[in-house]
């Protein structure tokens, strides 16, 4: 009767070589079996498409006729003649900066308040998380309705207190801020993570610091912030990636605000008003799946990948340090 031994548990000298190799082979087989779907999935749905996208970016392809190699033409077009890709990139960049700052700051603020509550924590936490459960398309429609300049409750309420509400989703200068409000409203998930981290900060640290005379602001800066910094970093990178792929809310808001009778990505009203809600992923989609310039869309995708990978690498490097610490334990 052979006992299955974990390869690490047995010291090399106490187990005969053949048993060890057989155990290793068994482990390898188990790993392959367990990981098979994941390996395959990664290859088929990530590895292959990434490489293929790069290939397609050098072609002209419309799905009906075979792809034609055109070298760097798509990239040249992207950086010189195509007029809307610059606007799209600007919109997404705007969102990356503003959404990240607002989302993280707001989630941090809300979490801070909740962390100090003594009663009703569960209720407030639930209420704050509920909006995050809403399907983004539905939530956007709801927001467009609420912020309707003519009959929406928000402007009505602002009128009561004497403030001129403005055109919100119908104003190209206000549409992105309005979208930011929508995202902040739905930031419940991030809020809960930060809340958990805040609650993890040892209270003794706070007590010691305040005994030394540190005010609440200094305590926050020097104790709280460093303690929750891994979570904050995660929140920041997560928000950046979220902004980079911002699609649904932009499309639905643009169409709904334009009074379009059909939403679901009708080309005519994408980006309304005045292309202010035309984000990079949306334009990629329109170029590829409405105008069927698929090669060009692939070129746009490559650029998007490079940018998002940069941010992902930062996070992965930070996690790697953590993962190694865990494995050593």
């Amino acid at each position: 009767m052979t006992t299955t031994l974990d390869t690490k548990a047995a010291s090399p000298s106490s187990v005969p070589k053949r048993a060890r190799t057989r155990a290793q082979a068994r482990t390898r087989r188990n790993v392959l079996l367990f990981m098979a779907p994941a390996f395959l999935g990664f290859l088929i749905f990530f590895g292959y498409p990434l490489i293929a996208t790069v290939y397609y970016s050098f072609t002209r392809y419309d799905l009906i006729n075979p792809p034609q190699w055109i070298g760097f033409d798509n990239y040249v077009r992207m950086f010189s003649t195509e007029p809307l890709v610059g606007t799209a990139a600007y919109n997404t960049l705007w969102l990356v900066i503003v959404l990240t700052v607002c989302r993280v700051a707001f989630a941090l603020g809300v979490a801070s308040v909740i962390s100090r509550l003594k009663s009703g924590v569960g209720l407030v936490r639930t209420l704050c998380y509920l909006p995050a459960l809403a399907p983004p398309a539905a939530a956007t429609l709801a927001f467009v309705f609420l912020f309707n300049p003519e009959f929406g409750p928000v402007n009505r309420f602002l009128d009561l207190v004497g403030i001129d509400g403005g055109l919100w989703f119908n104003d190209p200068g206000m549409s992105k801020p309005a979208l930011t409000l929508l995202v902040m409203w739905g930031s419940g998930e991030l809020m809960i993570i930060i809340l958990a981290a805040l609650l993890d900060v040892p209270p003794e640290l706070h007590e010691a610091a305040s005994l030394d005379g540190a005010g609440p602001v200094r305590r926050f800066w020097h104790i709280t912030l460093p303690s929750i910094s891994p979570v904050l970093l995660f929140g920041i990178v997560n928000s950046i990636i979220f902004a980079l792929q911002f699609f649904t809310q932009a499309v639905v808001a643009g169409s709904a605000a334009a009074g379009s009778a059909d939403v679901a990505g009708n080309t005519k009203y994408i980006g309304a008003p005045q292309n202010s809600t035309l984000t990079y992923p949306v334009w990629l989609y329109v170029q590829g799946f409405r105008y069927f310039n698929m090669g060009y869309a692939a070129a746009m995708a490559v650029l998007l990948f490079i940018v998002s990978f940069g941010f992902t690498a930062i996070l992965v490097r930070q996690m790697r340090r953590g993962a190694h610490q865990e494995e050593g334990a």
């Binding site: 590895g47 002209r60 077009r77 009708n266 799946f289 069927f292």
Partner: protein, 458 residues
């Protein structure tokens, strides 16, 4: 037994998986070709089905509710000739979905589109099948269709769709409000339009708009650049086939006039008002609720008004024209519903029989025209005694026969040029464009960029 150090082994494994990835990728992309299945794409016409053949034809269209029912009934007329053919009519399919289904290899057997905007694209990349062989085989004379309508169903001489009822865009005005304001008849020139707008507009005490004489905001409802264009005689492409807005005095005149109207209301004011108006096809349509006194719209609006808000008293007329082009009066913008056989349709012969009936059979056309209040597209159906003509609808029929209709040009870029110009109109009316000609030059550049993408082979 060989001993491989851990580092070397992991590097080897990493390299190995990279190679595997690249190999798989190259294999798959090398096999890439026309992704959509072939399946009857021109050349010899498909044979007509036998009289008792049993099959199902799928039809995609954008019709919904009331209109959907009317068209479904008309489609059913095919059963008289082919009793065993089932027709499955899917409504609410817009042009984007049509395109997607064709590219995705799941096309319907017959495609119906509300707009001619994408015809050029569909024709040039083979999404719609060439119908000439069918017309030749069945000896059909296309001259029974007026020229403008014939034009918007061909691209560079290739006919890949048939017109199924036409749309003419005219002018609607609220007769009660006209009487109240003391205006005798509908405006014939742009100056008159402006004066009438001023008289018909009512403001609330706080300065917001209560009733708008005329809604100049673009694009909104039927108020779009392409629909205004014929009133000013503005054309899209220059003789070289490239976009030519910046050098066109007609486009400039049109935009200047539009800005004049916007400034009369105040841009923010009109945008606020606009956001409170109901959906284009609902009973809450601004004109149908008396919130707008005059507007451009298609002849189909008469049916909607009759069905949804019959109490509104309205009149129709050809749209006003630029003061400098009085001879254009009586014409306007035309487009229409088109019907075609998509690439990959399983039974093109049967599809053609359905198309023949829906686009050329007088009885079917008159039946649909009466129900949808669209203009029947053949001369025979126009003069058919069974066609119901009330005075408001007659305006459009007269416009249709006036010979002064202007359609959109068929381009291979679908409606990208329309988006470009309407986008520009939005910025222009908001005051974000300091120099009109410079702005139009940018629009030209955008349109030409898209055209260049398509012309080079794709």
């Amino acid at each position: 037994m060989r001993v491989t150090t851990p580092v070397r082994r992991s590097r080897r494994r990493r390299r190995g998986s990279m190679v595997l990835c690249i190999a798989a990728a190259s294999l798959l992309t090398a096999c890439s070709g026309a992704a959509a299945p072939a399946g009857g794409s021109g050349g010899a016409p498909g044979a007509a089905p036998g009289k008792d053949d049993k099959l199902t034809l799928t039809v995609y269209s954008k019709f919904t509710s009331r209109e959907y029912d009317i068209v479904t009934k008309a489609l059913g007329n095919l059963k008289a000739k082919y009793p065993n053919i089932e027709i499955k009519h899917e409504g609410n399919q817009d042009d984007d979905k049509l395109t997607q289904s064709i590219r995705g290899g799941n096309p319907p057997d017959v495609a119906i589109s509300f707009f001619t905007d994408n015809l050029g694209a569909w024709c040039s990349n083979g999404s719609f099948q060439d119908l000439q062989p069918y017309l030749d085989r069945d000896k059909i004379d296309v001259n029974q269709i007026p020229e403008a309508v014939r034009d918007y169903t061909t691209y560079q001489g290739k006919r890949c769709a048939m017109p199924m009822l036409a749309d003419v865009y005219g002018f609607y005005y609220n007769t009660d409000q006209f009487t109240a304001a003391g205006i005798a008849g509908p405006p014939k020139t742009m100056t008159e339009l402006f004066e009438d707008t001023k008289k018909l507009t009512q403001f609330n005490p706080d300065g917001s708009i209560k009733v708008a004489g005329f809604m100049p905001s673009m694009p909104f409802y039927a108020n779009k650049a392409e629909i205004w264009a014929p009133s000013f005689g503005a054309t899209w492409l220059g003789p070289d086939g490239k976009s030519n807005l910046a050098n066109s005095p007609e486009w400039k005149e049109m935009f200047e006039f539009q800005k004049k109207l916007i400034d009369f209301y105040g841009h923010d004011n009109i945008e606020k008002f606009k956001s409170g108006l109901g959906d284009e096809y609902s009973a809450d349509h601004g004109f149908q609720r008396g919130k707008i006194a005059m507007m451009y719209d298609g002849e189909y609006r008469t049916a909607f008004i009759k069905d949804q808000t019959p109490d509104i008293k309205f009149g129709t007329a050809p749209p006003p024209v630029s003061d400098s082009k009085p001879d254009r009066y009586g014409g306007g913008f035309t487009t229409g519903t088109i019907i075609a056989i998509p690439k990959g349709a399983k039974n093109p012969g049967a599809s053609w029989e359905l198309i023949k009936q829906m686009s050329l059979d007088t009885e079917t056309l008159v039946q649909m025209a009466n129900g949808l209040k669209n203009v029947p597209s053949t001369i025979a159906s126009l003069t058919d005694p069974k066609l119901e003509v009330d005075p408001q609808f007659k305006t459009f029929l007269d416009m249709y026969s006036s010979g002064k209709l202007l359609p959109n040009p068929s381009t291979p870029i679908g409606d990208a040029h329309l988006k470009a110009v309407n986008d520009f109109a939005e910025s222009w009316q908001a005051g974000s464009v300091p120099n009109l000609e410079e702005g139009l030059k940018k629009v030209d550049a955008q349109i030409n960029d898209e055209l260049a993408q398509k012309q080079a082979g794709g």
